[in-house]
């Protein structure tokens, strides 16, 4: 046997095991990177008053005067007890930070993804109807042009029109989403804009290949209606890369929508991350690293499972 795992269940088990290793590797990597950054929490906390004595006192107070390895070991030791430690800056438990920021992030991500998939697939289908046709070119050009507009520019534009000029929507979620759920509309649209375009491009590319494949032609000949062939026969074959892209998008939505969060005042995980890195708040950064590591591993596993299902032939690769 050439080491090819036979059963999907065995494969999933092994991937989960590997995943645990990866989740462990992420904080190590992040710790090394944050340590490599100039300055530490004491220096940052001192800000524009960098009195050396004060920095030293801060360092002692934050127990930053110990070697990096020791600090990491302490943190890891706490983690094994399910403790994520406390923030260096405010002293609050890291878990509080994460749970607070997770809610808006999850909400945004879930909304965006539920709209993203149908929109991207729909646009991709539309463009792939006739390659090089007027519709294809129109869809391609428009999506590409939208894709080239950075989030903040789009955000500023949409806010100016729909919130400030027309007054239909609140421009920000300042004070919390709970007060004004409509404030989610603009950030979701901004978050959607670019992934929709890139995903639709991938859908289109895969569909064009799949629709040209003999099995699609055969299905058409067997009298399967064209739309059904597109959706039921060609699409699954086009989806493997799309699913990977979606997983990456989901991950981006969960871990790093910094611009949209800032623009619309939705303090989610991206903001917490950026703040924590800026403040060299290592425990918070580490807590996020664990969270992101877990999210990534699970999402990637899901995507790989889906991709395997969509390209089942791979299991017999020589």
């Amino acid at each position: 046997m050439a080491g090819v795992t036979a059963t999907p269940r065995g494969w999933v088990r092994r991937r989960l095991l590997l995943g645990a290793g990866q989740v462990a590797a992420v904080p190590v990597l992040v710790f090394v990177l944050t340590e490599a950054l100039p300055g530490d929490a004491a220096v940052v906390a001192a800000g524009d008053d960098p009195d050396p004595a004060r920095i030293a006192a801060l360092r002692a107070a934050l127990r930053l005067d110990r070697p990096a390895v020791e600090r990491f070991a302490d943190w890891a030791g706490e983690l094994t007890h399910g403790e994520l430690g406390r923030s260096l800056v405010g002293g609050r438990p890291v878990a509080d930070h994460l749970t607070e920021a997770l809610a808006p992030t999850l909400l945004l991500a879930a909304l965006t993804l539920t709209l993203l998939v149908p929109a991207a697939v729909g646009l991709g289908l539309l463009a792939a109807r006739r390659e090089g046709g007027a519709l294809d070119r129109a869809v391609s050009t428009v999506t590409l042009a939208v894709y080239a507009v950075p989030e903040f520019a789009l955000g500023v534009l949409l806010t100016a029109v729909f919130a400030l000029r027309l007054g239909w929507l609140p421009p920000t979620a300042v004070g919390g989403i709970g007060r004004q759920p409509a404030a989610l509309v603009l950030p979701v649209v901004v978050l959607l804009a670019r992934p929709v375009c890139s995903t639709a491009r991938l859908v289109r590319a895969g569909l064009l290949d799949a629709m040209a494949a003999p099995y699609a032609v055969h299905a058409l000949r067997c009298g399967v209606p064209p739309n059904r062939v597109r959706l039921g026969h060609a699409l699954p074959n086009a989806l493997a890369p799309v699913v990977q892209h979606l997983a990456r998008t989901a991950e981006w939505l969960l871990c790093g929508v910094i611009v949209a969060e800032a623009l619309f005042v939705v303090p989610g995980l991206g903001t917490v991350l950026l703040d924590a890195v800026a403040a060299r708040d290592v425990p918070v950064v580490q807590g996020l690293a664990v969270l992101f590591g877990t999210v990534t591993v699970l999402l990637n596993l899901a995507a790989d499972l889906a991709a395997r299902r969509l390209a089942p032939r791979t299991e017999v690769a020589v």
């Binding site: 940052v44 524009d48 004060r54 005042v265 303090p267």
Partner: protein, 496 residues
């Protein structure tokens, strides 16, 4: 010298302040500090922290528009003959829970700030006080003993972060203070909700509720204000102010002289150890171009001295203008023609990087090559304290005395220009032991002339701090540089 004049700022307000209306919730937007924010008033760092702290708490004194101390919880102060013992009388005030504010609270608060283990920012300001020896002869009197004479002792009472909290307070999750508003709820990084404190000694606020909201992004603050999601937005960009100044949708208040903008030259390192090179730089900059380009025109030009508009500022000195011939001649004399210099900068505050780019172009006209190095904004101040030779610099408003003591003495802890001159130190010590204000003013002028001639700080401008507010929000003070008493003061404004 006893109680400084000025009184409460209400007197200085515009006539529109005539008929305040009671009630309503005021939502104020600040650039927040994220999920790590705490309500510990001694830990203040950001403007948002300061705004929250001053709504909940009081200091013994605060700064007036000219950065002179104005009594707050203190009714007045009396120096001893050697200027090293000061007696401070407290006014009759109460905390939100009804307890009176006493001398014990004051001593507790100051000792907490000065605790070396905590490394609070205000600790350096309280350093002249010998807190172990200070005492409270009666509940309404505090007798401060100082380590050395200090004519500007009231500045200490107004220091950034020197708030008075009830004795024994350690938990600030639901803080109790003596400020105009009392605590209701707090979500770090998002919102702080406060209620009017009817027992406030300076008169209860007009608004029922105050909510301090956080929005880090400037455009978000502007948008929220424009759309009526807030009534007050702190720190708007000059471009935003210009775009909306005339629309009538929002009111724009420019707080002049709020931030000094400049460059620091290390006076002990080549090429800037040669005063002629420093002077050449003083002469080669076009200050208006810097104000226009880096501050979008929202500010005024500087004259290489800190604290324009504040007490002791030598307004009589001639305004420097660009003189390229003079600069070139000075460089030639110093043998520094065609020099290559690295300029450190960082996007740590608005305009810094832009100013660096402009200085680069301006220096090129004098034959100098400047290389701009953009550093990490998180550690910038520490990096330039001892590193490099030339760096962008900015500072919020503070009394000139504080500026000198913190940055320009041999013993100063944040002396970014490395300006260490024993004779200069002597002048400062002399000023601190001079009780006569006129003589002291003269001493300050001598120090500043010296800096004007050969100091290491090139002050090219003073940025306006731009505050936006809803048209129905009235009574926002216009002549209050950031961090002074009337800045971000919400007990005297009202919703029409």
């Amino acid at each position: 010298a006893c109680s400084a004049p000025g009184g409460t700022a209400a007197a200085d307000r515009a006539p529109a302040a005539a008929t305040p209306r009671r009630g309503g919730r005021l939502r104020a937007l600040f650039a927040g500090g994220g999920a790590d924010e705490t309500l510990d008033p001694h830990r203040v760092n950001l403007f948002a922290d300061a705004a929250r702290a001053k709504a909940l708490h009081d200091k013994l004194a605060d700064w007036g528009p000219d950065l002179a101390a104005v009594p707050r919880l203190a009714t007045g102060w009396e120096p001893g003959p050697g200027l090293d013992v000061w007696t401070v009388r407290l006014r009759e005030a109460a905390f939100h829970d009804g307890r009176p504010v006493t001398a014990a609270d004051v001593l507790y608060s100051y000792r907490r700030i000065a605790d070396p283990k905590r490394a609070f920012r205000a600790r350096a300001s309280l350093e002249p006080i010998d807190l172990a020896a200070s005492r409270a002869p009666d509940p309404r009197t505090v007798e401060f003993r100082l380590n050395r004479p200090c004519a500007e002792f009231p500045n200490i009472l107004a220091a950034f972060g020197a708030y008075i909290v009830p004795e024994g307070t350690e938990d600030f999750r639901a803080p109790v203070g003596s400020g105009p508003f009392s605590f209701v709820s707090f979500e770090p990084g998002r919102a702080l909700l406060l209620r009017r404190f009817d027992g406030y000694w300076d008169g209860a606020p007009h608004v029922d509720e105050l909510e301090i909201l956080a929005a880090a992004e400037e455009s978000a603050r502007a948008n929220a204000l424009l759309a009526g999601q807030a009534e007050y937005a702190h720190e708007l960009a000059p471009a935003t102010a210009r775009a909306h100044a005339s629309g009538g949708r929002i009111g724009i208040v420019r707080l002049r002289n709020s931030a000094m903008q400049g460059f620091v030259m290390k006076t002990d390192r080549p090429p800037f150890d040669d005063p002629r090179v420093r002077q050449a730089f003083f002469h080669l900059v076009d200050r208006q171009e810097l104000v226009d380009g880096a501050l979008s025109g929202a500010g005024e030009i500087g004259n290489d001295l800190f604290g324009k508009g504040s007490q002791y500022y030598p307004a009589g000195l001639p305004q420097r203008t660009r003189d390229l011939d003079r600069a070139r001649a000075l460089l030639r004399e110093a043998g520094a023609e065609g020099l290559r210099i690295t300029l450190d900068t960082s996007p740590v505050a608005a305009g810094l990087v832009e100013a660096a780019g402009i200085l680069k172009d301006q220096a090129a006209r004098a034959g100098l090559t400047i290389e701009v190095r953009v550093g990490s904004k998180d550690t910038y101040w520490k990096d330039i304290l001892d590193g490099g030779v030339l760096a962008s610099f900015r500072s919020g408003a503070m009394p000139i005395e504080s500026h000198i003591s913190q940055r320009l003495l041999s013993t100063s802890t944040t002396n970014a220009t490395h300006w260490r001159r024993p004779d200069f130190d002597d002048l400062y010590t002399q000023a601190q032991s001079t009780a006569d204000p006129v003589a002291r003013t003269a001493l300050y002028e001598r120090m500043q002339r010296r800096l004007f001639e050969e100091g290491g700080l090139l002050v090219w401008g003073f940025a306006d701090w731009i505050v936006g507010h809803a048209p129905r929000l009235r009574g926002v003070a216009a002549d209050a540089p950031a961090n002074t008493l009337d800045w971000a003061r919400f007990d005297k404004v009202w919703l029409a």
